[in-house]
Amino acid sequence: MKEAKTKDLDRLIAFLKENVDHCIYIYIDVIQYGLDHKYMKVWFAENDSEITSVAMKYYDSFQLFSKNVQTDREEIIKLLEENSVKTISGDINIIQSIETKFNDDYDVNYGIVVKETKYKKLHGFEKVEIATKDDCPEIAHLMCQDSEFGENYDEDSLIKQLDDRMTSGMGRNFVIRENGEIVGHVATFAETDDLAVQSGLMVSEKCSNVFCGLILHEYMKGISLEAGKTVYAFRIKEEMKKYEKSPGTIICGQYGKMTRRGE
């Protein structure tokens, strides 16, 4: 694997775009930051001048994609051993191929990548608002009420992350209020001109509308699709049968995420 330089950017983007269903986060971050980000590094492997694999380190995580797992596996493993990180994610093929090498230190989970192509215009869209920076503490509080999510994040760091993402324009946050209080939230984790990645759907137990999450989800899809963007989301594998039946939802890939134990 060799480190990508500015001269490699155009063909790197072309390769990522061609395979975007399987390397969404790498594509978005390379589009957004180029190759000059202080906490981001990109490596690639090639064969006959054709890029075959890409690895991106962003802060304390790696994102991987390989079209040539058999050939590039050892080089990718070497890179990961030289740069120990908290999480390693990527297309299912590469993660399955390397997980045994790291299973002493990492737990692995698999899921599906869905691409949304349709939305339903629902009653309740009129209640959705775009969140501002002033809403970050309330959104963070709502998100941390979820037991699983709250275990991994503390409110203060989440407020900072939400604020940072709003400042950088990486994604958008949508909320629904009841009696002035935020009871539902969804976000686009990241957006480019041509795609959006959904995340952060959370509804308070206080919310009186059982369809609040659905309204937020459809609204976020709608606003992105109307702007000509492809909408992606990452889901747990157990929910696959639901998405197979959802109109306009295409299961376009599978991913794996390895998390260092004790993190």
Partner: protein
């Protein structure tokens, strides 16, 4: 029609108490994303297109409500 709906519900929903449940939503048998999957499956099965404005909790509360929604959508499509 009910048997066809029941088959879909059991495929998509969380659990299989649909015959006895009075309220699929409050009893957690269908969640938000399940509703969208259910809409897709009903549209395919009955060759209808359910209007977004009809995707309301009261139309997915129980078997009777779903049957009424399909009947109404079919009639409107004629």
């Amino acid at each position: 029609m009910e048997q066809q709906i029941l088959k879909i519900l059991k495929e998509i929903g969380n659990g299989d108490n649909f015959e006895t449940s009075e309220d699929f939503l409050s009893e957690g048998l269908i969640d938000s994303f399940g509703v969208i999957a259910l809409v897709g499956a009903l549209e395919e099965q009955f060759e209808i297109e359910i209007d977004g404005g009809d995707i309301l909790p009261e139309n997915f509360k129980n078997m009777e409500a779903i049957v009424n929604l399909i009947t109404k959508t079919k009639e409107e499509g004629m």
